[in-house]
Symmetry: C2
Subunit: 226 residues, 2 copies
């Protein structure tokens, strides 16, 4: 960065990601022009291409940002040795927290069919793998008798929709209780005995402390690009 940068103002690349994400979520990727993004940032449209080689690359960076922060997408679920209900609870509240604390408004990536574009097929595949892993978890819970014996595919798709909905909340709520509440509802979808939910939550908290990665007491907003 050689050009003078206004004190306290984020670097331009960061601003581009922020404004592009906001516009993608309100008008969609295809409905947003590079000129609109540039206007929102306060630069001219061709200047965008000094920071990203193409419009697709901007969305790509946002996908990557989300991936880097999401254990679920990385297929590295937390508490792999816990019981299915505890794992489902933890996975759900983690994914909701990730979306809730995102530095960017990622709704545009997941609320449209953007992942179905051939250019983003890689992210679609990653996403499907993550859903498939969730399906395995549900099936395991049915086997152990913790979950009701309903179609696991439908359950997964509703859980997916629940987390996607959390992406919509992100700009509105900044409340740390939200991930826990959303995860409780997710659990209620499939669990046989809802009365156990408080114990499951305590167990998740306990295991996280034991693992040296306690669940955050207060919310911390992410800011860095990667």
């Amino acid at each position: 960065m050689t050009r003078t940068q206004k004190v306290g103002s984020p670097p331009t690349t960061e601003l581009i990601l922020r404004e592009a994400a906001r516009l993608f979520s309100s008008k969609g990727f295809h409905g947003t022009s590079t000129r609109e993004i540039a206007d929102a940032v306060g630069i001219r449209q061709p200047s965008l291409f000094h920071h990203f080689p193409s419009k697709h690359a901007i969305a790509e960076a946002l996908f990557q940002y989300d991936y880097d922060r999401s254990p679920g997408l990385q297929l590295r679920p937390e508490l792999p040795d816990a019981t299915p209900p505890v794992r489902l609870f933890q996975i759900t509240r983690r994914e909701v927290l990730v979306e809730l604390t995102s530095a960017y408004d990622l709704r545009g990536l997941y609320l449209s069919a953007l992942m179905d574009d051939p250019e983003f097929a890689h992210w679609r595949a990653t996403y499907e793998q993550s859903l498939s892993a969730a399906g395995d978890l549900i099936r395991e819970g049915i086997k152990t008798g913790d979950f009701v014996d309903k179609d696991p595919t439908m359950a997964v798709e509703i859980l997916d929709a629940l987390v996607n909905q959390a992406v919509r909340w992100a700009p509105r709520h900044r409340d740390l209780s939200l991930p826990d509440e959303a995860a409780e509802m997710a659990l209620r979808l499939v669990i046989k005995r809802p009365s156990r939910i408080p114990a499951i939550r305590r167990e998740a908290d306990r295991l996280l402390v034991a693992a040296g990665t306690p669940w955050p007491e207060e919310i911390a907003l992410a800011t860095q690009t990667r």
Copy 2:
């Protein structure tokens, strides 16, 4: 219709709606060009404008089609005198059935932020009213002690996501058991005693028969435009 029409082939206006809906759902409204629609139908691009005055009008017709078939969007919920759990069950399975038996693939209308476009603000308002009514139903159920006392807004948004998910199922499943299963899951989200669900379902069936509008035994696919 004066021009010769191939026997057994739907009228062109119908074909346009069908193909446009399919393309909107896979590439988004803004990501679909009128030439793509015309190619899929088998006519030239300007010929589209003899059936619809604009590209927006095609999406408008699809919104209207969905509205006309959805009691929820019309704010005319079924079984208004039943208990909150029975009404929630019935509303959910009805909306899922409506999406499941739609003649068109309506995912493109609701899975993107299309309703946020100023041209479709009217549908956004209608949609929000329908969600608001669902919130009132949840609150009533909390008051009667049937539902758990959790944030009704979050519950409604998850129910909304669940029905939207059903829109995604539409092209895949054509199984009449699906609406009932989806509605059971919706009920599990908020109900205090899940063991009551079978009785709630029987009660809904009974009330529908009493009202002279029994729940369909087998699926009937909609075809007419309006």
